[in-house]
Structure formats: structure tokens, C-alpha cells
Subunit: 303 residues, 6 copies
């Protein structure tokens, strides 16, 4: 019997489509979103996306990619960094919660379905890219998988850029292009990472999902991951590891300060500072920590 004619299944489908399914578009329900990010046990947005607290975001603002890399690697996450970007309005680090979305090469049949979904979900505006922007809130960073497309892969111009900045106060990461870099560079504080700039309008792509797992180069990004930029690259920190990254970085900053001081004084050689510390060195470092008013202490086995 044909699938199309299976009344029981259709009934189930009708029931589930009657539920309010925010941010669904092509393929993901809130339940799937919460499920795929279940390692996060804290607060969530209504659509199931992890909501790392603002206080943790603040502590991440002076964490380098190297510091994050060490903690992530230690936890088994080796592919969370992606380099090779063009940057606009750099200077400070970009920090925020990822709102992910993915586009695919358009085909008329699939694009028609997505546009119908958008209409059913009450999405406003001609462009599918603006549907994503409409979902943004303060502290979000829109992260877009446009599969590296340049000509016709321009996710925003300065109008949409102004809108994103007004809603998030952060920036944008796009594995694709933007248009009007001149105009966008005039949006104060709007920090953009793209693969290229191109004057064309976005074309021949279909939005397949919002807040679904996406691929940005070598990295898989989940909704609610913390986006952390550094010179020339972006680290996508799983929500459940964000606080640990912040903790470890604080310790590292103190350790580097002490190491630089020792190197300048010539008290220890680079190989010693970068190598296994002796108990004597750990002891001296802990005295340094105390002298700085820090409550942290290094245990010998950690270094």
C-alpha cells in the first residue's frame, strides 16, 4: 500500500504538525534540538537552544583561541576551530551564542516546500535569509553555512547588517560571502567574519534549517555553541564546556604572566617553562598566585 494512502500515519502527522514548531523550516523540531544538545543541562531558549549565562560570556571575552583549544582538546573536541576568514570591524573578540542556519543549492521542488513552510510559520519578508534574522535576540551570533558560495552567496548587505546589529549587538559568521563591505564596515561594532565580499545578491540557495547542526569548514556547530573569535579564526565552544574554558583560561593567564616574568629574568629556560614543571617551580608559581590575590592553586600533577 502506498505511503500516501496510510490513514493512520497521516493522522499522526496531522497531530504533530498542529504543534507550535518555532524555528523549524526544513528539518528540526524543538525536541530534536534539545536532544542533540542534551549534554547541556542548564537553561534553554523556548526553541530548545542552550542558553549559556551572560556571566560566562563576559568571562570569555579575553580568552584566546589557544586557551580554548587546550580545554576543548582535553575534552575530546579537536575540530572546533576554523580559520581563513575576511574580517570587518575587528579589534575586540566576537563572543555570543550561535544561532545556526544552513542553506543548500536551490532546486525548485524543495524551495517551494520551504517557502510554504515559511508562510505557514508566519515568516515575514521575501528573503529566506531575513527569516533567520527575525529570530535573533541580544547576545546571539548568527552562524551561516552557505557552503563557501561567493557569487550569489551573499547572506547580508548593510540593511540586514544594521538589523542584525540592532537585535544582537554582536556580529556574524558566514561560510560564504557578504555584500557591501563598505556599508557594513560603517555599522559600529558589527563584527563580521566571511569568506569573501561580492556585490551580487543572494541567489540560487534554499534555507534548509534554523538552529540545526551545521558544518563550517572543519567544524560542526550546534545551536547554542559559544562563538569566540581570535585573530584570524573562530572557535565554536560547546555550551557545556564554556564555563570550563573560562576557568582554565584564568589559570593560564596567571601562568603565562609568571612564565614571561621568569623568562625575562632568565631564571628558567624556555624549555623549562614549556616543559614539565618541577615541584620547586609549582611552589614558586603558587606563591605568585597568592601575591596576585588569586584563590587558584596549581597542583603538581596538573603541570
Amino acid at each position: 500500500m502506498k505511503f500516501w494512502k496510510q490513514p493512520a500515519l497521516w493522522a499522526a502527522l496531522l497531530i504533530s504538525t498542529a504543534l507550535p514548531l518555532a524555528a523549524q523550516i526544513g528539518m528540526f523540531s524543538n525536541q530534536q534540538r534539545a536532544d542533540i544538545t542534551r549534554a547541556w543541562t542548564g537553561e534553554r531558549f523556548p526553541d530548545g537552544r542552550p542558553k549559556v549565562p551572560d556571566s560566562v560570556l563576559d568571562r570569555l571575552r579575553d580568552v584566546t583561541a589557544e586557551e580554548a583549544w587546550g580545554t576543548l582538546r582535553g575534552a575530546g573536541y579537536r575540530l572546533q576551530f576554523e580559520g581563513n576568514w575576511k574580517e570587518l570591524n575587528g579589534g575586540q573578540r566576537l563572543v555570543g551564542r550561535a544561532v545556526t542556519c544552513v542553506f543548500m543549492p536551490a532546486r525548485p521542488d524543495m524551495n517551494a516546500v520551504i517557502n510554504d513552510h515559511g508562510k505557514q510559520e508566519g515568516r515575514v519578508g521575501r528573503g529566506q535569509n531575513s527569516w533567520v534574522i527575525d529570530t535573533l535576540v541580544k547576545g546571539d551570533v548568527m552562524v551561516v553555512d552557505l557552503f563557501g558560495k561567493v557569487d550569489g552567496g551573499t547572506i547580508i548587505g548593510d540593511n540586514l547588517g544594521t538589523s542584525i546589529m540592532a537585535k544582537t549587538g554582536t556580529g556574524l559568521v558566514v561560510d560564504g560571502a557578504i555584500r557591501d563591505p563598505s556599508g557594513i564596515s560603517e555599522i559600529k561594532g558589527f563584527h563580521v567574519f566571511a569568506r569573501a565580499f561580492h556585490p551580487s545578491a543572494i541567489a540560487d540557495v534554499t534555507l534548509m534549517g534554523i538552529n540545526v547542526p551545521i558544518r563550517i569548514g572543519h567544524a560542526t556547530v550546534l545551536p547554542g555553541d559559544i562563538v569566540l573569535s581570535d585573530r584570524d579564526g573562530i572557535t565554536f565552544i560547546p555550551a557545556q564546556l564554556a564555563e570550563k574554558v573560562a576557568d582554565n583560561a584564568e589559570m593560564t593567564h596567571y601562568r603565562d604572566d609568571w612564565g614571561h616574568e621568569m623568562l625575562r629574568e632568565g631564571k628558567y629556560a624556555p624549555g623549562q617553562i614549556d616543559g614539565q614543571w618541577t615541584p620547586q617551580m609549582v611552589e614558586e608559581f603558587n606563591q605568585f598566585l597568592a601575591s596576585k590575590g588569586s584563590k587558584l592553586r596549581l597542583t603538581p600533577r596538573e603541570r
Copy 2:
């Protein structure tokens, strides 16, 4: 109120997870699958995937990429061809119904969720790649989005290749690599298109979906698309256009036969054969069709 604490929504979720959700893994229900391919109005597999009839597959076996391209382009599908493959066991055209799957760079949190899903869905075997193979039936072609990964991006070796061939009688398309090309080339009739060969085992990837929309280079592939290979490239024909492609190709074959004959005889110049045919030429061609026993006729406006 936190999402985690919304009992009503959880209840809805529990209900829907109680449904038999074949081939779900990361992100797609049968209903979503039928929805995204709704342009196809014929028979479907139980999981919602379009099932183009065998008779149409047979007629497509001597259709070239150029013939398919013309029909697809005319219908607004300009991005359904992808070249640049390494081919094993070529010779005949690969024709079959796409079973799609997509892998993403692995991260421990996400991979754990997928493995749990696999366990819940009763999937057998250690490797996520074998979960896809377990779903294959006669006439299917497994199409794998491995985002071009080579080292550790090897979807199968000769064991799994033997299994695919036993189940489908066709071949494999992978935007990634295979291992053991020597062994695989000995599986008679097993027609493989990959980006590279590499001896490593598959590693550091997670299966995110089976029979979901995937991207193979420039093309978007939907489950149930017809895979049609030609020298150096693959065309992914939307299910609803497969019959039309076969119809048009039959006409084209007759037209080419006649054109070649005219060129050999020097009766018409290449520019005339490739250009707009005069009513006189259309008339002569229709006489040729009749002489061949064909019931097709060209109307002047078609050429």
C-alpha cells in the same frame, strides 16, 4: 520557564517518539521526507522516499548527461550535475534510486546522541556507515555526503562493498573516499564514484541523517532522486522528472541519428543542424521518424 520543565511539550515529544520512525537517526521523520519530496505523486517506500518505477529506470539506461541536462534545465533545475570523480568498474551507466546520507565532523556530545538513537532504533553493528547499508534494497544507489573527506573519510572497503552490491545490484556515490579499491574493483558490476582512494578506516565523523536532503558538490540530492552516471559525472534527476527525461531522450536519439546522417551526406551544414530548423527540415525529420517505425513527431515550434 525553562524548556526543560515544560511538561506539556515533553508529553507531546514522548508521544511522537513512540511512533515507529524508520531511518530517522539525526533529523528527519517519514513525514518530513514525504513533504520535502511532495512534487513526486507516485508510489513511495514505507519511509516516504519516492519510488520511481523500474520501467522508467530501464528507459534511462542509455540516456546521456547532456540529454538529461536539457530536460532538467528546461524545468528550472540547473545544478543537478556533478563531475570530478574517480570511478571503479565503469563501462555501463549507473542507474538507481538515491538513498542519501550525510556525515558531519564528529564531536563527542553529538556522536553520543546519534549512537543512542541508533541503539533505540535497533541498528546493528559498530559502524554508523553500516546502518545506512542495512536499509538498502534492490535498485537503490547509496549517495553519501562525506564533505570531501579523504583521510578517515572512507565510507566502505570491500566487505561493505560486497554487502551493498548484494543488496542493490548497482553501485555507490560518495563525496569522500573509499578504501581498498583493489578489492572493490573485483566486485563484479559494483560501480563506484568517489573523490579519492585512501587506506585509512573511516574516523572522526558522525552520521547525521539517512534519506534527508544532502549536498554533493554543487548539487542538492533528495531521497528518491534518480542517480544517472555518464562519462566523468553524475546527474541527480528529481523523481518527478525521470519519465520526462526518458521521453525527451528518445526523441533526441532519433534527431541525432538524422542530424549525423545529414552531416555525413553534407546535405545541411553544422550551423543548420544545430540551429533553428526550417519547416522543410522538420518535415524531412518526421519522415525519418516514420521510416524508423517511431510514433513520435516533431512539431515545428519545438525545434
Copy 3:
């Protein structure tokens, strides 16, 4: 009146073919140059190159690549932008009339012919690259097709750069390299776009034509096209479209100002601003235009 019917100009051309043919070198007469650019019906240089008025150049100085792209695309010109440059002395936009030239890989037989032509045409200096520079006048931008050559593809160093700047007051675009970027960056206001920097001298190339159609990446450039730079890319505007680009950009600037204002005020959503405007929005915008003292008005069907 059409160029084709301007007897005076034809007379001038016929006369000039009897003269030693300026800017001819390998392949183009003044008459061929006027012919290939016949869509331009305004003033021309003696060698047939279109001469867009200075007043239009001035109006283009604050037009972005996106604004130009919209007008060009609307007129059927989709390939007039080229990105991926190294830039020296950026800051302001580069605007000027293209003097094109094309080099090819050298072969002794062809190079000897070109050198003889140069001698017959009274060209001074050892280097074929300086022949092009000798033809430049105020407001010109030299655009060089060096087929992406880097080692030995260095069109100028700081001596020739100084000379170009003295003659044109603008800059240079080269699909190839320059040498001595340190020296060139000290030539105040000399705005350069090249693919790379290399210390070698130009070598193993032959100048095949001056003010002929050339290819710069994806774009075809005709002599007299307007070169317009923006952040990270160059647009080559056909002479006959330059004024229209300026007109449309003026309207767009007002429209963007109003759109940004509306977004800041939250009066309209991004999707509305980027989408089809309602008659109400058009009316409000026209009031805005009036309030700014502009004589332009938007008609409903334009947006």
C-alpha cells in the same frame, strides 16, 4: 544620433588609418575600437576610445560595488565585477576611464614583430610596458591583462608608478604583479590593485594590444569602461551605463538612509524593508525625499 551615422567621426577614422596608427601594436585599429564600443554614443578620444565626461566620474566616486552591480545586472551585464586583489594606497575609491592592454606569453617570432611595430610607431624606451604608459592622460586607469603571472609578471616598479601617477592622477589594475610595493606605497594617492607583489623584473611576455578588449578574471573589459573600486573588488562599468549607475545610486542612497532610519525606529521589520514596499511605505519614502530637498520620487512599481 548613432555613432554609426556620424560622418565626421568616420572621416576622422579614415584619416587616422592613413596615419601612423596610434595605440595599435598587435591587433586593433581605431576603427575597430570605435566599432566594438559602438554602444557608447558620446565623445571619444582620438583613438576611438569612449570618453565618459568628468562630471559622471565625479558622481561615481561614492557609488558602491553593490549599487553598480544592481544597475549592471538589470541591463544584462552579470560578469563585470572581479575580486581577490592586493591593494596599495587604498582608502578612497579608484575611479577612471580604462586604458586596457594585454600581454601574452612571449615567443621570439611574435615578439620580434611587436618590437618592429613599436619602432615603426615611434614608441620610446626598451620596455613594452612603458609604451602603454606613454599613452595615458588625466583620469585614465591602466588595466593590464597579464594572465595572473607573478614571477616575471611585474608590470611596474616605483619609477613607472611615479610616471603613471603624474599622467593620470589615479591608479592601476593588473591581473598580474607589481614590484617594489614599498616604493609604490610612498607614491601619494597612487591606488594599485594587483594579484601579488614580486621583486622580479617583467620577463617572457609580449604586449599584444593597447585599448583592445581584455579579460580580467571573470570580466571582459573594453577600452573606455569606467573602473570603479570598492573594498576588495573592481567593477568595470560599460561607458554607456556609467550615467545610469550614478543616477540609480543617488536614489539608493536616499532609500538606504530612510530604511536604516525605519529599522532603527523599529517601525518596519528587515523583511519589510528588503521586501516589496507597500504603497504606504512608498508614500512615506517620497515624503522623506522631499524633506531632504531631493527632486527624485519613487513610483510604486519600482519597488
Copy 4:
């Protein structure tokens, strides 16, 4: 006698410029063609293209790329080889006289001019590519600069391929793509070198010249150059050097035969065979030549 001083040829050229200029299209007159190839002092086609005798073509059929390279390099031509091709119907070497043509990215203004020229010159057929084919004669090899374009850069399909084969009996070289490799591979003896295969139709390009200097990768090709293929590459031999290449290759073949014999016998070491030959070795080789019935003799200074 120098071409420049051949009154008869000049007369012919002057006459021909009074005629409707065949093979002109965008930019080249017969006189310019004869001028740029003036190093060739033998017979020419009516349009000024050098016509290397059939007897020389025949002698080149078993010359390798390495043998041609040695002679060309010795004469100062270092850039006449180009590799990285996809080949159809290989097996024998492709040998013939180049009919060159160059396409550029299309723009409406320029394309309209070219189409008008075509009409004025009486060219038949909708496609500019067929204009080139209409000029081909026996022994020609069509060499096409399509600037590496793949999608929409398909110079021929099997209809036009059949036509080229009927006219030339040789093959095709295209720095771009072809469509329908399946069909083309069935045209017996039609030897094709292309960069890629793609099912699309040629699009968005304009034919800028026939029998003008073109660039194929690193090489400049002039009309009338001899196209000589070898495994994985094409050498473009200037017409005036074709006979010398054939002469030198004959000597090399004998030298290699003798060298291989000496190596097999262990009489001389590889370093000696590849190094400077002693007078004793030259003497032995000349005896070998005599024994083979050859009239050639090596003089000591040549090796």
C-alpha cells in the same frame, strides 16, 4: 627571401583587404595574420595562415614531446608545451595545423557587435562556435581558448564533433570543456583534448577572433602552428620550426636506439650515455648509423 619583401604576397594581401574579410570577426585582418606569422616563409592559406606541407606533418607523427621540446628550447621557445588534459580517443598522436579561436566572457554590447560582424560576413547558424568549424579544412586542428571555462564552456557536443571530424580528419584542443563525451568517444579517430566534460550548453561567451594569437595555459599559439600531442600534453610547434623538429627527431631516434643497446650490453654507464660523448662513442655511433642505412652523421661537437 623575407616575407616582408615578397611583393606577390603583399599584392594578394592588399587585394584581400579589399574583399569581404574572411575569418575576421573581432579583430584580425589577413594582413595582420600574415604579419604576426612572418617568420614562416612558405605557403599560406588564403587568410594568411601558414601552411606547413603535408610531408612534414607525416614525419612529425612519431615525434615525442621531449624531442620537440629540445629543438624548440634550442631556438628560444620555452613555453610551447601545455599539460593537464582530459583526452578522448587517444592512441595515436594528434598532428595538424592550428586553426585558433578565442572566446571571452560575454557582455551584451560586445556580443551584439560580433553577431553583426558574423551576419555581414555571411556566417551561418545560431552558434558562434559553428562559425569556426565552417572554416576548417583537411589537416586542421581547431584550438580553442575558452579561458578554462567548464559550466557553459562546452565548445562542442557530438553533432559538431562529427562535423569537425568530417572536415579535418584530426581532432580538437580546447582550454575549456566539451559536452557529451560518450557520444564523442564514438566518433572514430576524433582525438580530443579538453580540460573537463560538462553536460551544459555553451553560454555567456563571445567569439572574439579566429586565427589570431591565443593563449592555452602557459603557451601562446599562433594560427598555423603545428599541434603535436603526446601522452598527457600538447606541443604547439611554430610553423617555421616544424621541419627542423622532424629532422632532429630522426637523429634522436637513432641515437636512442644505440644508447639503449649500449646500456643493455652494459658497454657504457647511464651517466656516459646521458653525458658528453667521447670521440670514440661518436665514432661507434656513426658506424651504427651507417649500419642502419641512415645518411645522417653526428659531428663530435653536437654531442
Copy 5:
């Protein structure tokens, strides 16, 4: 005091240069060679290079890259495979002991030193590439690091190829090019892996060492490593692991035979065959081994 004037050190140097230092050239003594390959404890060639027995080479002839990869990976060698080659005279596997050599971009000062060394060491012939060939013996495979150079990176033509084949009976691996692929493909059984074919002669490189550690793409190759080719790639097996690779492959062949049989019979699913075997499966497999006359037995923990 200047180094140049340190008599004691000079004395020591003179003593060491008085030793017979075969295959030294730029940088490696026999002692260094034996030292860097000290993990090999078996027989060595006079210059210190490991000499894996012929009996082991024979057993490796039907080992695939995948089988070798498994054993190497298990031993901590993850980078011993390199793909992306052009192959001549394929068909059988290339197996032999690596004679390594490395070239670097030439500079006159360094090249003069190397040529003096060659003269002092009595090396014959003008070309440094022939110095390597002079050292080859039966069963060697010459492996050349030419840093991917193509034009001027042609290590051999058919003369030197004939010589290599006469001495080794095997083939050649070059991370660079060869010339005269037509001629070389006629040397029966001479199996060549190169990056490209080019007609130029080798130029602008200096031979820096023979039988020193070299880099071929991702892999480090030591002298005496076993070169093992498979479809599309080369594995460089450390000498000390060659026998273990052969042992493991024998077991794998039997295991695959049994697995294929089980799959064909449908007795076990692919996931089971590729997954952890049950004790029952191990038992059945060991019965299979016995039935084949093999003395090998699988223990449960191995699978």
C-alpha cells in the same frame, strides 16, 4: 678565534673525510644512516641501509594498502601512505627497498660544493640524477623527493629509465615529474609513479643527499623502507615492520574470504562482519581456517 683557524677541529675533520664515505653527497654518513634506521636489527647494505630479505618482499606482493595501513597504524605509524600519482606500466604491485634521494632548489654556491663532492667520490656522468642510479641494485626502488617540481623537475627520460629497470627490475617513485612517458611506457615492467609528465629536462635543482630521510607528500621515507604500491597510492613500510605486515595480511585474507562467504550466504549482516565478532563467529572462522589448511588461529580478543 675564527672557526677557519681552529687547527684541532680541522685535524679531526681531515681524519673523518679520509674514511670511505659511500653515498654521502650532501649530508649523511653510513653511520648516520645506520643510526637513523636503528629500529631495524637485520642485515644491512654496506652503506648502512636496511636490507629486508627477498622472502619478505615476495610475501608482500599481494598485500593491499589497507592491510598495511592497519598494521602500521597499530604500531603508531599513521603517515606512511601517499596518494595522487600518475602511474605508468601499472597492473602488478610495485614492491622493493627504497633508495631515497632529495633534491633542493639550486643555488650556485651549494651546487658547486655538491659537484665537487661528486667528483671526489668518483661519480660518473654530467647529471646528479645519474649518480643515484649508479648506486641501485636488484630489488631497489628509487624514491625521489623533487618537492613536486614539474617544469624542470623531470628526474628521468627513457634512457635513464631503461638503466634503472636493468639494475633494479622494479620501478620508480618521484614527487616530481618524468619526461618521455611514451618512451618509458615501452620499458616492459618498469612501474613508475610520478606527479606529472613534462617534456623539459631536469634543471635548477641540486642533489642534496642519497639514502637520507626524505619527505614524499605527507610521508617520511627512510632508506630501506619497503615501497608497496596499490591502486592510486604508495605505502612506505618501515623495514622493521615489513614481516609483521606480511603476517597480518595473510590472516586478513582468510578473514575476508570467510566474511564474504558469510555475507553472500546472508548468514551474518555487514554490521556483524565489520563489528565485534561473537565467540561463535570466531569459532566458525577458526574452523574455516582449518578447512583451508592454514595453521593460523584467531583468538577472541583479536577481533
Copy 6:
């Protein structure tokens, strides 16, 4: 007889390993180092590395890559420039004496040998990269061949960077990556050229030699070469040519000053300034030299 059992050779080896072999690691003795750089006849460091005087380094600080290129090319050194870098802390030119080192892909057998050598040579610290840093002195520039590796190819972070700066006062060139560009950019005056930035720690590589010939892209670098940076590229000047480069640059600076003056005055055309100077021009230039207080004079044949 096996090599392993040759007592006489072993005795010789033991003697030579008893010598103090500074900076040896994998493959190079002091004697080999002095030998390969024998074109330098001035002072040397204890390990045989050429020591170009500080006074010459000072004179090179305002020499451009173009000026160095001219002198090097004239002396037959055509491959000493390498571009395509990411630069940190630019502004002034990087000038210093190269301390070279080379890494290769790691394999356990080779890496164990190198670590043993390090231990025997008393090298401190866990990381092989720090061994190189320990050898640096004032005025050195560490030049690292990491074969372009990015992930795991990070030669230093800010700790080691601080140490290098303290020892050399210059910078670093690495054909690979660095980590922590944020931290490194805060080390005042520490001028870095790398291929990329990456947060990973260095991994899977083995240090094969210190102060041996290395390859950086197209260039061969010898220990003691002078590293000279310019905008976007590095020139490696052989020690014996450093003074000549400084001499020639001084003359060129005066010549450019005069040329620019003449161009500004319009006294001579660019072709004349760039071409062969007339005796009159030489005379005027020498007067200019005298007026500037220079003792240099141009002789007519030099220009």
C-alpha cells in the same frame, strides 16, 4: 659480511661520535656546515655558520626586495625570494642571520633516535622546537621548514616567542604556522612571518636538523644567509653576497632619487629613465651624486 659486524667501521664511528658535535641532531656536522657554505670566506660562528658583520646588516635595513633581487639575479641566484606570508608586528624590515631548522612528518622510529641525540647533546626541555631556540644569539633570525603544516604545525606560542625575542631582538620565519597571534603581537618588535595561525600545539613532527640547508617554498636557505623582509615577502641573501647587495642598493637609491626628479620635471620620459641612459644622462647623474656628497660614480657601461 654484515655492516653490523664490521668492527673497523664501528671503531671509526665511535671515535667520531666522541667529538663535540654542536647543533647536530639529525644530520649535519660543523665541518659539513662550513663546507656547504664555503663561498663565505669571512668570520664564522663556532658551529661553522657564516657570520656576516653587524655593519653589513645595518646597511641592509633600507634595502628593498627589488634591489636585492637585481644583485642576486646578476650573480645567478634566481630563487631566493618567497612571498605569501601572514605577518605580525610589521613596519620595519626584518634583517638578521638565518638559523635554519627542518622538521619532517614524525614516525616513531626516527623520532626516538632524534630524542636520544637531543639527550646525548644535553638539550633541555620537552619540545624539540625549544632546542633550536636555545642556540639563538643576538641578530639571528630563526627560519623554520615545517613543510607548510598548519594544524599541529605551530612552531611557537607567545612563551617561546618571548624567549626568541629576548635572545635575538629580531623575529621568525616559518613555513608553517604559529599559535596565539594575539599574544605574539604584543611582543614589541617581534617580527613574524608565517603561513597561517592555528590554536593547536605542535604535533606529529620531528626536528631533523639545525643549521642545515632547508627549503622555504621556492627558495633554498643556508645557515648564515641574511634574511631580509619587505612588504609581503622574504629574500634570503647568501652571506657572501650581502655586502654587494648593500653596495648596489646605495647606488640605486641615488639613481631612483634622480630618476624621480627627472620624471617630475618632465625632463626625461619614463622609457628613457628605465632604458639605456645616454652619456649625457650618465654625466648629469654623476653631477647629482657629487651634489649629494656621494663618492659613488656611475660608469657609462653600467647603465
